[in-house]
Homo-oligomer: 332 residues x 2
Amino acid sequence: MAKSEFDLIDTFFTQQTVQRADVQLHIGDDCALTTIPMGKSLAITTDTMVENSHFYPNIAPRDLGYKAVVTNLSDLAAMGAEPAWISLALTLPKADENWLRAFSQGMFEILNEHHVALIGGDTTSGSVPSITITAQGFVEKNTALRRDQAKVGDWIYVSGTLGDGLAGFYLLSDLYQGKKSAVNLEESYLIQRNLRPTPRISLGLALTQHQLSCCALDLSDGLVGDLGHILDRSGVSAVINLEDLPCSSALLNLYGREQAEQFALQGGEDYELCFTVPDHQKALLEQHLAPLKVPYTCIGRIVEKNPQQNMTYQRQGKMVDLHISSFEHFKS
Amino acid sequence: MAKSEFDLIDTFFTQQTVQRADVQLHIGDDCALTTIPMGKSLAITTDTMVENSHFYPNIAPRDLGYKAVVTNLSDLAAMGAEPAWISLALTLPKADENWLRAFSQGMFEILNEHHVALIGGDTTSGSVPSITITAQGFVEKNTALRRDQAKVGDWIYVSGTLGDGLAGFYLLSDLYQGKKSAVNLEESYLIQRNLRPTPRISLGLALTQHQLSCCALDLSDGLVGDLGHILDRSGVSAVINLEDLPCSSALLNLYGREQAEQFALQGGEDYELCFTVPDHQKALLEQHLAPLKVPYTCIGRIVEKNPQQNMTYQRQGKMVDLHISSFEHFKS
């Protein structure tokens, strides 16, 4: 990109409103300089979104900026970390002023909400638009929510509703491919859930601060795939109660219960948290989560490792034979 | 990418040899978890390299892995930081086992040399290969080398030799475009200087630890462009002694003194440090840098801000009229 185009980018990305005392130096030097509170660990995560692999070219840049930040904040939430800063690496074919304005607005919208500072990054020219964000946050030492800490007897919980992200993806796909030209209110809700997921920061913080859980992840690839990571890493299995899977009324109205359950199990991009809670902590969990107003549901239980099948399903207490594999978006 | 391809990538990127006590959790969870030494600030930098914008498609993957790390470590060196960890975001059209093996070998070669751990990242599928690395390191609080700290009367220094990176780029360009089919030993040296620059970590550390300088950056875009950043941010100007510009014998033999000076001033991708030193620190500088065996040269002096021209040039004490602008590689 030409020099003037870089200046244009600087204009949008240095106009942020969040000021943090722990940032001594941000955009404009070789590195950013920050400090970490005493006694805290630093949680670090990196996520990339590439056009045609993670989003369609017709995505509104404001939604793209928003979502690129959320996917990273969601990883911090899944560790029980308090988000602090992000770095942005943005690759674009050209610097379009309107695009950059909208993208940065979407980005700062969610950054400001969580008091997160943009501390630096790199802007490069390349034929395929791509966004890599590295997000960092703090977590009390030895309290982070890990994937390898599920224990037999733990209850399995998820936040929010599941399956909306995948249903929204299919709708966006139909719109992009011209199979659909308009959406109704319920479809629009599912699309918004895909484009503007909610990072469950306050929930992750409550789980660590009150030591309600030590095992969580965020559902970016769907419950089957992601809970599968917890089971593998913890050396356990799970029983899921299908009737307890939380689905939005939009999803249920549009697709019916059976299809909604499929979306919930297989779907990705919900960015809800999945976490496990020991039996003796159940009452404490309800007490501490009530003030947060974050919806959460118990969907099953961790059991002894079953070498044949790491996840089994039941409805009304009866085993159901289901074989579901994780869905891969934009599979080539 | 298919699941098995991701497994392939995991295979190469988890086989590192560097173990650090400050990394509690690395690749495999939602975030990495690390700790920072007491009293230190965290320096954070992000750099992206995109095929056809920063490297030619025929680059050896081992060199690419090496160089992608160096460009980031060089930013840490320029702050006087001690490198600690990197995160890698890698976008590839497909997972090729031989390519990944060579790329990771090049990356670990330089990471191991500086005892830097790969703590996480993201691997995505996309039509244009791209690498974004976020590197982090430690610096004593309030001692970082910044761009805005040059003072009138300071001497201007550079490490190593200048211009090799740009000459190497032209040779790589000729080879890629078929204008050249073989290189001699001196050309090969310049190409190596471009593909495998040296991050000046020990120099940056010495400058901060002994408080020899408080102003530095790394020369990624050429002396004229990069020293220009120091001058702008510090509100000063500079006089450069052309005869003092350090050039390699390969560059001088191939291009002659005048062309070599042009390369030195305009050229990018040298990844040498440029730093300023107060007059009263000159003797101390020589004393502390001698054991490092890092070549360094005084090339000029910081002067009062000249609103007409922020950089002036002289040869044997006489003003020379030169107007040089920073070179942009792969300019579209």
